[in-house]
């Protein structure tokens, strides 16, 4: 499981991309790009950590983009209309998001319905609620929230540093704790876990609630960066998050995944996006290249994995 060599393939791909872009755009390899990226990625990172857990237990959560928008909307309402302080408003937003995750979890676990379809329903509902709460208007908050995403250390913001901490904690939880083992077990063979005398349901619901919570945290980072809450935000974000996680090598079939690799997956997606924008590639080409990179990254990972153990 551990050991740097697991990440070599992905890191190689990342470096190759950086080299390519620095050739194509003179300003690519600068502190500016780094700062921008570090400012950009926290939302995607924390949500991808949550999604890693969700995929590991063999679930999926399509609602994360909408839930993020809902949390952001609630947060902004609390601050702007009711005059709450940031801390309280942030807490409320995170709470609402966790609740959404919990609902997905409870319904899909309780009735044994695939989380794919439940979270699709929650996607619609959370989006509707976000519109309802904000009255379909972007809510501007202003500099009261910008501290979280302002650089404090070598161009890194509290949001970025928190995201890194969440990655590390997530990695440790997955690899070193009882909970992590249960998740992997559930994702591989849920029935066997149940027969081992463990009730898999609470662990599963927890994962979805955690996903919601992290979507809420992502919303906080997002709001702080935009200084506004956009009820339209995060449309289609779920697929981006899942793409990052899968590029990082986590299996959609459950039972296998790594938070560190997910982080690298997010970097690949984000560097690609940043690089393509700096080079100024046309929109059609951007889409085509993005698609190619997604497929290529996963194909390469397959080869690495095969080479590793040629037992099959």
């Amino acid at each position: 499981m551990s050991g740097l060599k697991n990440y070599l393939g992905l890191i190689g791909a990342l470096i190759a991309m950086c080299v390519l872009f620095s050739v194509l755009s003179e300003n690519f390899l600068t502190m500016g790009t780094f700062t921008t990226l570090s400012n950009d990625i926290p939302t995607l990172v924390v949500m991808a950590v949550g999604m890693t857990f969700v995929l590991i237990i063999g679930g999926i959560d399509l609602s994360v983009g909408s839930v993020m928008a809902l949390a952001a909307s609630v947060l902004s309402m609390a601050m702007v209309r009711w005059g709450w302080p940031l801390f309280g408003a942030a807490l409320l937003g995170v709470l609402v998001a966790s609740l959404c995750g919990m609902v997905t979890g409870l319904i899909s676990v309780g009735w044994r319905i695939p989380s794919f379809i439940v979270s699709l329903g929650v996607l619609e509902m959370a989006r509707g609620l976000a519109y309802q709460v904000t009255n379909s208007r972007t809510e501007y908050i202003g500099s009261a929230v910008d501290g979280i995403s302002s650089p404090i250390l070598f161009g890194m913001s509290p949001a970025f540093l928190s995201a890194i901490i969440i990655v590390i904690v997530g990695h440790l939880v997955l690899t070193k704790t009882v909970l992590g083992r249960h998740w992997i077990g559930i994702g591989t063979n849920e029935e066997a876990v149940r027969l081992a005398g463990i009730n898999p349901r609470p662990s599963k619901v927890l994962v979805f609630a955690l996903m919601g919570l992290l979507a809420g945290v992502g919303a906080l980072f997002q709001v702080s960066r935009l200084e506004a809450a956009d009820p339209n935000g995060g449309v289609g974000l779920e697929l981006q998050v899942i793409a990052a996680v899968v590029i990082g090598g986590t299996s959609l079939m459950g039972g296998r995944g790594s938070v560190i690799s997910t982080f690298i997956g997010v970097l690949i997606i984000s560097v690609l996006e940043a690089g393509l924008a700096q080079v100024g590639v046309s929109e059609p080409m951007k889409r085509i290249v993005t698609g190619l990179v997604i497929v290529a990254a996963v194909v390469l990972d397959t080869y690495r994995r095969r080479g590793e153990r040629s037992t099959h």
């Binding site: 500016g32 921008t36 400012n39 501007y140 506004a228 956009d230 700096q278 100024g280 929109e283």
Partner: protein, 292 residues
């Protein structure tokens, strides 16, 4: 850096919308004609509402050390903080198409000139033209763009202004998401729910195209009037045969060019952002069968 040849970034919304494509082409032609004066980097986003991605692009432009930024914001408020960053980095910023929110600009203590049309006025022009073909008391319905965007809201208001004056009865306002197929679906539903509806006012031409198809499917061609907004290519044959009564042209290609020229002027005149300001209203014109 060669101060002689500034770099200007044009950041738009969905480049998959013909409107912005026209805008981009106008800008590119202008750059070709003035190649000695500046370089252009044009960027767009996935769809009309991909706000956070647009912010990322602005950030990339700051990193790329552009000298000027011309932006059609996907969101009037959420783009303000990053625009302040750009201004702080010494970039001259001009706002086009969709106006930034005044309160937000004020909170950030910045001014950004707006070069663009008055959407409410444009919609009213179209609505007024339609009003001539209907009677007071007639039922009409509005197909709105993405409800969260400022210009969608403005256009709905403009349509409503015109209908009020005409004494028409607006029986429904529903969103067609700026797109043809969703526009078609809500139009079809409205036609079923209100069989006596006399006109459909669409917030842009894509949705108007969808509405035309719905009218046809309901077997009401000629009985229900349709208007749009944007004057895209695909709408032209419909104007000709009357399936679409009118649309508005907001001269997309010129909006960008005006924006770029404003930026370039400020750079050559060495003006500070704070000394720029105000609104340069661009043309918006009614287009009908008879317009050329």
């Amino acid at each position: 850096q060669t101060a002689a040849k500034p770099k200007v970034a044009l950041v738009m919304k969905s480049l998959a919308n013909e409107f912005f494509l026209t805008m981009e082409n106008g800008a590119k032609e202008h750059q070709k004609a003035h190649a000695a004066q500046y370089d252009l980097i044009a960027n767009g986003i996935k769809d009309e509402t991909d706000t956070s991605n647009q912010i990322k692009i602005v950030e990339q432009m700051i990193v790329s050390k552009v000298n000027g930024l011309v932006i059609a914001p996907a969101d009037s408020k959420a783009l303000v903080p990053v625009i302040k960053k750009a201004i702080d980095a010494g970039i001259i910023v001009v706002n086009i198409d969709n106006k930034l929110d005044d309160a937000a600009l004020k909170e950030k203590g910045i001014t950004v000139p707006f070069v663009g049309p008055d959407n409410r006025l444009g919609a009213k022009l179209v609505g007024d033209y339609l009003a001539k073909q209907i009677k007071s008391g007639d039922k009409v319905a509005i197909i709105e763009g993405v409800s969260t965007t400022f210009n969608a809201q403005q256009r709905t208001l403009g349509f409503q202004d015109a209908m009020k004056t005409a004494g028409a009865n607006v029986v429904a306002v529903q969103s067609g998401q700026w797109e043809m197929d969703p526009g078609n679906k809500v139009a079809a539903a409205i036609l079923n729910a209100h069989p006596d509806v006399k006109a459909l006012l669409a917030g842009n031409d894509n949705m108007a195209l969808g509405a035309v198809a719905a009218v046809k499917a309901a077997g009401k061609t000629g009985k229900v009037l349709v208007v749009g907004y944007d004057n895209i290519n695909a709408i032209k044959p419909m104007l000709k045969d009357g399936r679409v009564l009118a649309t508005a042209d907001q001269y997309a290609s010129q909006q960008a060019v005006f924006g770029i020229e404003t930026v370039l002027k400020a750079i050559t005149d060495k003006k500070a952002q704070s000394s720029l300001g105000g609104t340069v209203e661009t043309k918006v014109a009614l287009v009908t069968k008879d317009s050329k």
